[in-house]
Symmetry: C2
Subunit: 207 residues, 2 copies
DNA sequence: TGTACATCAGTGAACGCGCGTTCACTGATGTAC
DNA sequence: TGTACATCAGTGAACGCGCGTTCACTGATGTAC
C-alpha cells in the first residue's frame, strides 16, 4: 500500500481523511524527482500531484525541507532494494568466485540505478547519508558486506579492507557521475559497457 | 584585469560605461558559486554584487542561462589552471617515474579542486563539457595527456589507453564526490589522505 | 444502538518574497565634419 | 581644435510567476455515554 488510498488509487476518489497522505506525498515526491531531479521536489507540486491542497502537507511534514529529506530517504531505500536484488540473483554460496561475482553485481547495480533513475540517485546523495529509511537495505551497507565476504574468503587482506571499500566505491560512483554529467554522457551503450568492465577490472585487480 | 574596472576595483568608483562589465559579472558569478553553489548564481544577485542594475546584465548575456554557462566555463578553466600548476611542479622529464608522478599529481589536483572549491567544481560539471573557455587548459585534457605520456613511455599498453582513462577519471571523480556528499564528508584529514592514496594505488596497479 | 462531542486531517484565501524578463528612458562615449 | 550627433551601455519602474508559509475555517471520524 503506497498512499492516500494508493494516491487517488489511480483515479478512485477518496474524498477525505487519511488514505495515508504522508505516504502518498513521499511517493509523489519520488516521481517528481525521477522526472525533474531534486529541484522538482517542490512542496506545492507534490501536493498538486496527489490532488490535495498544498497546506495538507503541513499535517505530515514540518516544512519543505522535511518532505525533501523523506523523499531522499525513500530514494536511498529504493537504491538499496535494487542492489539487494541484483546481488541475490548474481551468485550464491561461499566460494571465492561467488564473492567476487557479488561484488561485481553490486558495482553494476550501482551504475544501473544511477543511470536509469538519475533523479533519485541525485536526491539520495543530496542529503548525504543523514536520512535513512530504517529497515531498508542501504547501498553502502551492501557494498560493505561484499568486502566482508571477500575478507572472510581470503581474497582481500583484512588490513586493506577499509581503504578497498573507499576505492571500490569511488570507482563506481565516479563512473556513474561521468555517465550522467561527464564525457561519457554522449557515449554509446557499448562504450559505456566496456568502460564499466574496465573500471570493475581495475578495482578487482587493485584491491 | 578582471572586471568593471576590477569590479568596482575594490571600492574605486567607476561611474559609467564598460570597465568590462561582462568580465565583472562572470567574476561575481564565480564568487557566488564558491560561496553558495550553482544555485547561488542568480542573475539579480550577480548584478547586485557588481553594484550594477540587474538589467545591465542583458547587455552582455542573452539570459540567465547564458550567464550561468559562462560562469561554468570559467570554473572549468580555473580547474584546468590548478591542474596544470600542480602537474608542472610535480615532476619533469620523460622517465617512467616522472610520468607516473604527473598522473598522481593530476589525480591529487582533481580532488584538491573539488574539495577546496566545491561550488566551482559543481557548477563546472553542471553544464557538462558543453561550455569551455577556449585557450584555457581543460582538466580532462590534462588527464588525457598524462595517459599519452604513460603509453609513450611504455607503462600502459596502447590498446588499454582509452579504458584506462575512464577508470582513472572515475576513481578520482568518485573519490571527490564521496568527500563532498558521501560518507567521507565526516572523515578526518588523515583518513581522506589515506583513502586517496589507496585510490591512486589501485588505479596505478590496475591500468 | 443512538446521540453529543472532541479531535484533527484537510480546505481556501492571503501574505510577502525574490526571481527572470521587458519597457521606455538617460546620458556618457567617440566619430564625422 | 570645436561642435553635432549617433551609438549603445547602463537605469529604474513595472510585469507576472511560483514559491513557502500562515491563518481561520470546515467537516469527517471515532469515542464516551
Amino acid at each position: 500500500m503506497v498512499d492516500r488510498q494508493s494516491y487517488l488509487c489511480q483515479h478512485l476518489f477518496v474524498p477525505y481523511h487519511h488514505g495515508n497522505l504522508r505516504e502518498a506525498l513521499i511517493q509523489a515526491g519520488v516521481e517528481l524527482a525521477e522526472e525533474g531531479g531534486p529541484e522538482a521536489v517542490v512542496l506545492r507540486a507534490v501536493a498538486r500531484r496527489v490532488g490535495v491542497s498544498h497546506n495538507a502537507a503541513y499535517r505530515h511534514f514540518a516544512d519543505h525541507d522535511e518532505l525533501r529529506r523523506a523523499v531522499s530517504a525513500r530514494a536511498m531505500g529504493e537504491f538499496g532494494v535494487l542492489m539487494v536484488a541484483r546481488i541475490a540473483s548474481a551468485a550464491r554460496g561461499r566460494s571465492k568466485a561467488a564473492a567476487w561475482a557479488r561484488l561485481n553485481a553490486s558495482g553494476r547495480a550501482y551504475v544501473e540505478f544511477a543511470t536509469t533513475r538519475p533523479g533519485l540517485f541525485r536526491i539520495a546523495f543530496q542529503y548525504s547519508m543523514d536520512e535513512v529509511d530504517v529497515d531498508q537495505p542501504h547501498p553502502y551497507g551492501q557494498l560493505s558486506q561484499r568486502l566482508d565476504e571477500l575478507v572472510a574468503v581470503g581474497e582481500v587482506p583484512a588490513a586493506r579492507r577499509a581503504d578497498a571499500e573507499i576505492a571500490a566505491w569511488s570507482a563506481v560512483h565516479g563512473f556513474s557521475m561521468l555517465v550522467l554529467d561527464g564525457p561519457l554522457r554522449a557515449a554509446s551503450e557499448a562504450e559505456r559497457a566496456a568502460g564499466l568492465d574496465e573500471v570493475l577490472r581495475v578495482v578487482r585487480s587493485g584491491i
